[in-house]
Structures are given as C-alpha cells and as structure tokens.
Symmetry: none
Subunit: 247 residues, 2 copies
C-alpha cells in the first residue's frame, strides 16, 4: 500500500479544544505532513474565523472536518486509538514515545483506520477519554517545561507519521549534481601540487604531508565535475595571472 493510502487511514481527533486558533494551526500542521482527516469532539468554537485564518492553505481540512459529540463517535471504524500524553500517568496503559507510536500507527494504517487523539490545551485527555485509547504516546520534553502548544504537538506527531511512512517520505534528495570522477580529482590534485610548488608553498623534495592535508579538505567537499574545472581555472591563473587584468 502506498503512502497516500496510509495517510487516508489516519485521523487526528482533537477533544474539547478551547481555542479555535489551535484548531486552525493543527489543520495546517497536519496538511504539511500529508494528513487530512480531522475530527473535532465538542470544540468550544467551530467553525470560527480565527481557525480559518490560522489554517491558511489548510482551510480545506476544516471544511471537511467531522464534528462529533463524543470520542467514541470520533473513533468509529478505528482499530487503534493512540492517546497523546504530556506526562506519565498513574494508569496501566502502555506508554511509548511518539517515534515508536508513529511506527506502529503506520504499520496498522497500511490496512485499517487508526486515530491520533489529543486532549484539551489545559489538561490533556481525561481518564474517560484515555479509556477509549489502546496506546499512549508521549513527546519527550524538557522536564522543567513540558508545555507544548496543542498545534505543536500535532506537528511533531504528524511529522513522525510522515517519517515512519514507507516510500521514502523521510529521505531528502537534492537535484543530483555530477560529481567529479576519480581521474578528474587526481588531475586536479596533480595540478594543485604543481602549482603549490611553483608558488613556493611546497618543497618538491618533501611535499607529502602537506599535500595530504590539502587533499583531505577537497575530499570532504565531494567536488562536482564543474567545480574541479573552476578550481583548475584558479590554479592556472595563480601561476600566470591574466596579462590584461587591471586589478
């Protein structure tokens, strides 16, 4: 099953959210990570202009959000509900960090719907709400200040879901550049050494150690083909500066 299908099986449930702005910011956070199914259990204000404003380009998630009157209603059809917890609780739920939780969520969402459940801004999930969940997930935080904003918590969890999803969501690749071949590099190093000798930097009798140090610098840079040409152009001018230069 591919990534869009997995994401289609994941819903974010916000319980009794007080500030409509947080609903909008949470929608934006979800959409940046590819999640799109938002469920709202008894939101204090919804729909609301502030929610729409903070959602920016994710207002479509608010329009398609499902408003429910109870958490069980929001969990209809789900085979796993993961409750987010900011603190350790005196309960017997299994508690894992969000990375582990995301990994399990994605595995199951490949086949069946699951829910990520967030409590109120002030006190998180109630015990009754936790009883509707099968797993608790915690975002590791500074023990002296654990107060993540609701939308920030949604952002971190959604991010971990994207990172856990297959199909390389977690990998980043830049447009491939053409790296220099080994021969091109050796040609450059020889040109460089010759130049350093000509300008009196290297002693041709014992250049080894210094040459090695310089080679290491360029080895770490992983030079592209074009960059080798550029550097060799500099070397050529170091020995014979342009005749016509006015500088």
């Amino acid at each position: 099953m591919n990534k869009p299908d997995i994401f289609n099986n994941i819903r974010v449930v916000l319980c009794q959210t007080s500030h409509p702005g947080n609903i909008g910011s949470a929608a934006r956070a979800m959409k940046t990570m590819g999640l799109r199914h938002l469920y709202l259990v008894n939101p204090l204000h919804f729909p609301d202009a502030q929610a729409t404003s903070l959602a920016t380009g994710a207002a479509d998630l608010l329009e398609s959000a499902t408003v429910c009157s109870s958490l069980p209603e929001a969990l209809t059809g789900c085979v796993l509900a993961i409750g987010m917890s900011a603190r350790k609780r005196q309960i017997s739920h299994e508690l894992v960090n969000v990375r582990e939780a995301a990994s399990r969520a994605v595995t199951i969402a490949a086949h069946q719907p699951i829910a990520l459940v967030f409590g109120t801004e002030m006190s998180g999930l109630s015990n009754a709400e936790l009883d509707c969940c099968q797993l608790l997930a915690m975002i590791p935080a500074n023990p002296e200040y654990t107060s993540l904003n609701l939308a920030a918590a949604v952002q971190v969890m959604s991010y971990e879901i994207r990172m856990a999803a297959p199909d390389g969501a977690s990998t980043v690749s830049a447009t491939p550049t053409e790296l220099a071949t080994n021969e091109a590099l050796e040609g450059f190093y020889a040109h460089l050494e010759d130049t350093l000798i000509k300008i009196g930097y290297l002693n041709p009798g014992a250049p080894k150690k210094l040459s090695e140090r310089i080679r290491r610098i360029y080895a770490r840079a992983r030079l592209e083909k074009e960059e080798v040409n550029l550097l060799r152009g500099i070397l050529t001018l170091s020995v014979t500066p342009k005749k016509h230069t006015k500088y």
Copy 2:
C-alpha cells in the same frame, strides 16, 4: 558531556521575523525541548507584547535573547551553521533531513557552538544568508503543501535535537578537531575573493555568482581552524610567490 551542556552549545537564530507572535511561539517550542539560546537578526517588532504572550512560560528566553543586525554577527563563535530550507534549492549546499542534521548538530555541540538558522515566514533564508551556512536541513513535508509555520519548524527541529542528544554521560566520541569559527571562515573568504581579483580570476564588478560557488565548496568541507591557516598561506603566496624559490 551531558545533555544540558550540549544544549548550551546550540543557538536558534531567527532572521528578519515579521510576526512577533512567531518569535514567542518559537521560544516556547525551544524551551519545551530544552534549548534556551535565542538570537534574533533584525526582527520587525521586538520586544513585543504578542511575543511575550505566546511564549507563555518561555518568556525568559525572550528576555535573554540576543538581537543582532546581521547573520554573521549572530553566528559569532559558531563552528557550524545549519540553514533550514523548506524547498530544494538549485545550489550545491549539502542537504539532509532534520533528523540527520540534528544528529550532526549534537555531535559537534558536545564540544563547540553551533547554530540552527531560520529564515522569514514568507520566503525562508535568502541566498546571502544561505552562504553563511555550511549545511542545509529540510523537514520532509507534503509536496502539495510544504508551508510549515515558523514556530512549527522550530518545534520539529528542536524535538529532533532532543531526540538526538545522548541521555547519559556514557557516550564516547572521537577526539574532536577544532573547527574554524564563522569569523575565521569569513576572513578566509574575504582573503580568497581578494586574491581571485588580484590574479584576474574574478571581476570585482561582478564577482558574486562565482564567489558563491567557491564558498560552497569550502562550506561542504567543514574547514578546521588549522586548515584555514594553511589555505590562507597558499593565498598569500599566490599573489607574492616566495622570492627565493628555485622551482
């Protein structure tokens, strides 16, 4: 070195932030993950009541924030600047995802200061700002909607830093080499540009593009302090070769 010490070597730099609320939310995001050094480069409004309001319990980070008039000033003393990028750029900076970037950041921050650099809400980091960075980090996102809120991006990056930091003092790291500071690098770049103009390689009227390409080569190499000295020695001889050389 333990986690608090690593965090003491990590600064978050926000460039030209437009909305003071985002500065406050970013401070809150940082503090939840244990980061505390905030640098602001030319913030549009700061200090500001909205920043303080959104920081909630992290207002102390705003009070101790360092306001700078340029990015190089904010990077003083840092040996690695990681620029956050929301999109793939047509440049040859090394680009990794935030998880990999956090891992590298933490390794270096165990010994020397590093910076996480965030651009404006609307357009991210400028090319000139990127030139001050040695590594680009990207948060994997929904290709159809990559628009993370600034504070959300700070939250994800800070979270990855916390996840990457070792928990105890039991970790072993290789003997660290002393990396060049930002000031040393800038001194080298200025020397290099001056030399390239003198040998007729760069046109002082329009050196920009070529200088940038050369800077990126050395940015990728993550130069050590000693290597900068070595390279500057070569530059000096490129302009005035040793009189007594026989070669």
